[in-house]
Symmetry: C2
Subunit: 216 residues, 2 copies
């Protein structure tokens, strides 16, 4: 990003998601998104090819982090352990910005088929990145494909839970650290930064691992 447009990309994402949820995706133009962000239309197009792609923001970054974490897992790690390392790497970078935007993103996705499609393609893309990274470790194709699907399922489940915990600050039932939103990072639902999501993703992956025995 050019120096004179600090956080332009993030501002465009925020503006777009606000407009999508306020007035509808179809009714929102790129000009409106740029205006709301206090930027020009040409700045928008330097960051995104079209308004739908705003939803894919973060896909490449997350995919890269998944792949790095998987590549850096210890040599003898199993496929699922490597996926866990990828989830750790990606989730630890998640910020309160991601979290706050999460519920607005969910609302936009729920309301529009085109955004729903883009969201699903984002998951497909992340699964492909994980599967590639696993294959690069010598994991056979079928095992890599399954482990990658489990990684994406765990990530999605964890993200939903992480956002929901942020939306319901008074609901202490799922929280180990009480209801203090400014508290430490020891409670999975509490952390404003990515540590909480790391714990949630680990738990989700463990649940999926447990589900393997029930497949039959």
């Amino acid at each position: 990003m050019p120096r004179w447009e600090p956080d332009a990309r993030a501002r465009l994402v925020v503006a777009a998601l606000h407009l999508f949820t306020e007035q509808g995706y179809d009714e929102t133009t790129v000009t409106q998104i740029a205006e709301r962000a206090g930027l020009t239309k040409s700045t928008f197009f330097r960051h995104f090819p079209d308004k739908r792609e705003v939803l894919a923001a973060g896909q490449e970054t997350l995919s890269g982090l998944f792949a790095e974490g998987i590549a850096d897992a210890p040599e003898g790690a199993t496929a699922l352990d490597a996926v866990g390392a990828g989830l750790d790497r990606a989730c630890s970078t998640m910020t309160s910005f991601n979290r706050e935007l999460g519920s607005r993103m969910s609302a936009a996705i729920a309301a529009n088929a085109e955004l729903r499609e883009r969201h699903r393609l984002k998951q497909v893309g992340m699964a492909a990145a994980m599967a590639d990274a696993l294959r690069a470790r010598g994991v056979p194709q079928a095992v890599a494909a399954l482990a990658a699907e489990m990684g994406v399922l765990a990530f999605s489940e964890a993200f939903t839970a992480w956002v929901a915990a942020d939306e319901a600050p008074d609901n202490g039932t799922d929280r180990t650290g009480g209801t203090d939103r400014t508290g430490g990072t020891d409670g999975a639902g509490d952390a404003g930064d990515g540590e909480g999501m790391v714990a949630l993703a680990r738990a989700a992956l463990d649940r999926l691992r447990g589900a393997l025995a029930e497949l039959g």
Copy 2:
């Protein structure tokens, strides 16, 4: 379909895939597709909302067959056994028409990002249909999601192998019944109808089942 347009849908699919691979997806118009099929543009729009959706042809039919097969599996069947029953049901309906179109579809998908997206969404849709049918049997969410992903991986792998076997009639290495393309349904790669694909899907699902033990 109206009586006076027998096979209109199938003719539109054939015409579209021929045009996509001959002159490119972007260059192909709905008018051209209808003309090639010997039909009108309004007939096209009775069957598909736009040219991209031609690629989704069969998605609802296949999803319905997967779901039926899963619902009809014996009461005590495991999640993966139920998925196997869904694959049986869907694959047994595959015809030489599906098979012949398969390689053209692959070529069109490989050459265009929009079609690639639609193809992936088709897979996502089929996985959702299988997962729903499994949950309706009382299979827990995580188990249903994993089993459904395995079902789609098996179906995709089997379809690719089935089409490839048709394209290489002189390659007898993967065939149990020789190279007679008009032969019986005993060889997985030989059958012009769906029996060959049933066997391939079963084998793919078995391989995936075997891969579970390697996930770690």
